[in-house]
């Protein structure tokens, strides 16, 4: 049987890794919702959720239970299949990014050398970009299938916003690619571990642009136009209820985690702990420290996302488009030129 000729241990290793990463992401996302409510509460000078469990720590479980136990309603004139497909697509697209994120250095498990990354493809950055461009389908399909004018308007807004900010994001990525010379996220992180500085030093403007574009791609305030309550009632998930609504809300938090992980890996050294020599401890411990470092960086980015959400009001739609096309893209092109000039001068 040549069918079974591939390395089964390899497949099992990858499946276990995918399961761990997906469930860990879901778990972190669960507690990110809690974090969001607590951060909002602190910024607004109120206690926030504090009843369920110690410090309100069981609140996300209660929220999840509430969402699951609510009645599922599919509107009569909705397109049933696409109505169900929408939240699923949103969730899939946001979870797919985690395939190329290098979580840490390799570990040794029972004599096996296990890289803590699902797939080290040599087109990692482009893969991220492709998944980001897939993310808009969940919103568009859900919004259209609801057969509601508000939902459709919101879906169209989401799509045009995503397309506009993808351009600036892509241009910022190209500048980073020019300095690193590699599209593989693992190589990019290893360069930063080995080199003196993180990429943020070489690409400050690029990072700023990427961060703003990431805010827009995650539909976070000040770019949460697709769910502007005062204009569109509730946005693209207006007709959704129960766990399908939960999937949409959850996908947003997973998007936040993934974009934080990507930004940490690309600009802030990934799993690199500064002023610490990884070779001085056992490889498994070094890998553990690496995972912890990356998680701390992710949490800091998520806090930044929340801080911005609860501080800055929402843009108007024309302001959003002006910022995207007339400020971000020219700045990204300028960044590209500057990077090219510096590389040429260094040759």
């Amino acid at each position: 049987m040549t069918l079974l000729s591939f390395d089964w241990a390899f497949i099992i290793e990858k499946l276990i890794m995918i399961a761990i990463i997906v469930f860990a992401s879901l778990g972190i996302a669960l507690y990110t919702t809690f974090g969001e409510r607590k951060v909002a509460a602190i910024l607004q000078d109120r206690p926030g959720p504090s009843r369920a469990g110690p410090f309100g720590l069981l609140q996300p479980l209660a929220d999840g239970l509430k969402l699951i136990s609510k009645e599922e309603i599919i509107p009569t004139h909705a397109n049933k299949w696409l109505f169900i497909l929408g939240p699923g697509l949103a969730m899939t697209a946001s979870l797919m990014t985690c395939a190329v994120i290098p979580w840490s250095t390799a570990v040794d498990v029972f004599g096996r050398h296990v890289a803590l990354q699902v797939a080290d493809v040599n087109i990692g950055l482009l893969y991220v970009f492709a998944v980001v461009s897939m993310g808009v389908y969940g919103i568009m399909i859900g919004g259209w299938a609801s057969n509601n004018k508000f939902s459709l308007m919101s879906a169209l807004r989401a799509a045009s916003q995503a397309i506009s900010y993808e351009l600036a994001m892509g241009l910022a990525l190209i500048a980073l690619l020019m300095t690193t010379g590699s599209l593989s996220l693992k190589t990019i992180v290893e360069q930063q571990v080995a080199g003196n500085w993180w990429n943020i030093v070489y690409q400050p403007l690029g990072f700023l642009l990427f961060f703003i574009a990431a805010l827009a791609e995650c539909n976070r305030t000040p770019f949460d136009l697709p769910e502007a309550e005062n204009e569109l009632n509730f946005g693209y998930h207006q007709e959704y209820s129960s766990m399908k609504l939960g999937f949409y809300l959850f996908a947003e938090y997973i998007n936040m985690i993934m974009s934080s992980a990507i930004m940490a890996s690309m600009y802030f050294g990934g799993y690199d702990l500064p002023f610490f020599n990884e070779a001085s401890v056992a490889p498994n411990i070094a890998a553990l420290i690496g995972v912890g470092t990356l998680l701390i960086k992710i949490v800091l980015f998520i806090f930044l996302f929340m801080w911005i959400r609860w501080t800055i009001p929402r843009f108007r739609y024309d302001q959003l488009m002006n910022l995207g096309w007339k400020t971000m893209i020219p700045l990204a092109l300028f960044n590209l030129l500057l990077t090219g000039a510096v590389i040429l001068a260094k040759l």
Binding site: N79, N122, I123, L126, A130, S133, W144, A159, S160
Partner: protein
């Protein structure tokens, strides 16, 4: 059959079924979604041929950007299957001629493949599809066509902006 062959046949079946569904779906939105699946299947074929760059660019450009615009237009036009107007005979006639000539072209192409019989496809071999060799080839051997096509793209972009402003 080895793993690659199984993947090849599965992807081909996936692509063909999706392509047929594009044609027979009554709802234009469903057609667009099936078409996106066709692009994914084709990207899978590219990966089998070790052309990772082409695979991912196919997804970014076609599945990610162009199909979003298709969806946009169809959603805004709100095309419904029961409201679709009956086409005039002349348009049907033109359609038959255009489709027929394309079919002839396809049959000619399929006939040419007879010389490929008994040869194996180079699956997962060669490095030209990887990003480094591809970039080197584009910017050294094919730099003039590459630059000319980028100028063409730029002029198309300017044209689109001008038409959009009217």
């Amino acid at each position: 059959m080895n793993t690659l062959e199984i993947l090849f046949y599965a992807l081909s079946a996936f692509a063909i079924v999706s392509a047929v569904m594009v044609l027979i779906s009554k709802n234009p939105i469903h057609s667009v979604l099936w078409l996106i699946l066709v692009f994914f299947a084709i990207s899978g074929h590219y990966i089998l041929l070790n052309a990772q760059f082409l695979a991912i660019v196919n997804i970014i450009v076609y599945a990610g950007a162009i199909m979003v615009l298709f969806l946009f237009v169809i959603m805004l036009m709100n095309v419904k299957k029961d409201k679709e107007p009956q086409k005039q005979n002349l348009i049907k006639f033109i359609g038959v001629i255009a489709g027929g000539s394309f079919l002839t072209l396809l049959i000619a192409l399929v006939k040419q493949t007879s010389q490929l019989q008994g040869k194996t496809v180079l699956l997962k071999e060669g490095t030209i599809g990887l990003i480094h060799p591809l970039g080197k080839a584009l910017f050294s051997d094919y730099v003039v066509p590459f630059e000319i096509s980028s100028v063409l793209f730029l002029s198309a972009m300017v044209g689109a902006v001008i038409i959009g402003k009217k």
